[in-house]
Amino acid sequence: MDLTLISALLRTLASVSTIASTGKKAEAVASTLTYAAKLVELGAEGEQKLKDLTAEVQTMVESSTPLTEDDFEGLKQRSDTAHATIQGA
C-alpha cells in the first residue's frame, strides 16, 4: 500500500475522531493518530534518504574516490544543527 495513502488515512481518522466526540480521550486518540501518520511519512522519507546514501557510497566504492575531510565536515555541520534542534525542543 502506498505510504502517502496510509498517512492520509491516518490523518483522516484523526480528524474523524476529533469531530465524532469531545473530551480529552478523543483528543488523545486524534493526537496519537496524527503522530502515527507522521511516523509513516518519516519512515518513507528515511527509506529514500538511506537509498540515496547507499547509492552514494556504492559510487564511491566503484570509482575508488578518496574521501576528504570536507566530506565529513558537511555531515558534521548538518548533525550539529539537528542536534541543537533536538536538545532545544
Binding site: 481518522l13 496524527t34 566504492v61 565529513f72 533536538i86
Partner: protein, 145 residues
Amino acid sequence: MKRMMFVALALMMVAGCKTVTAPVEVAQTAEQKAYALYGTFVVFEELAASVVTDPATPAAAKDFIKKSDATAKPAADALLQSARQVIQIQSELAAGKTPTEKLEIANARLESWVVAAQPKILALQCAVNPRQKACDDIHNVQIKE
C-alpha cells in the same frame, strides 16, 4: 476508539517491514564505513529534529528521542574524528612523512569506532522509525490511549 487504534496500528504494520540495504553494508574501507554510518546518523538525526518539533508528538516519544540522540551523538562524533585522523595520516603517508604502521593503527581504531557507534546510532534510528525490522529487538512501541 479502540477499533480506530487497531486500524491505525494495522496500517503502520502494513506500511512497515521493508528491508532497506544499510549504506554501511556496501562500504568497503574503514573511512567509507565511517562515512556511511555517520551519514545514516545524520539522516535519522534530521528526521528526529522534525519529530520533536511536531506538536503532535507525545512527550514520552520526544524524551526518548532526545535521550537516544544524546547517547548517539558523542559516539558518532568520535567516529568522525577518528575518520578525519585516518584521512590526515593517508596524506602524510602519501608525502612520505609517516610510517605505514601509523595508518594501520588508525584504521584499526576507526573500525573499532564503527563497531562501537553502530548500536547507538541504530537506537536513534529506532526511536525515530520503530517500524524497521532491525528495531524488533531494541524495544516495542507502546501507544497509550
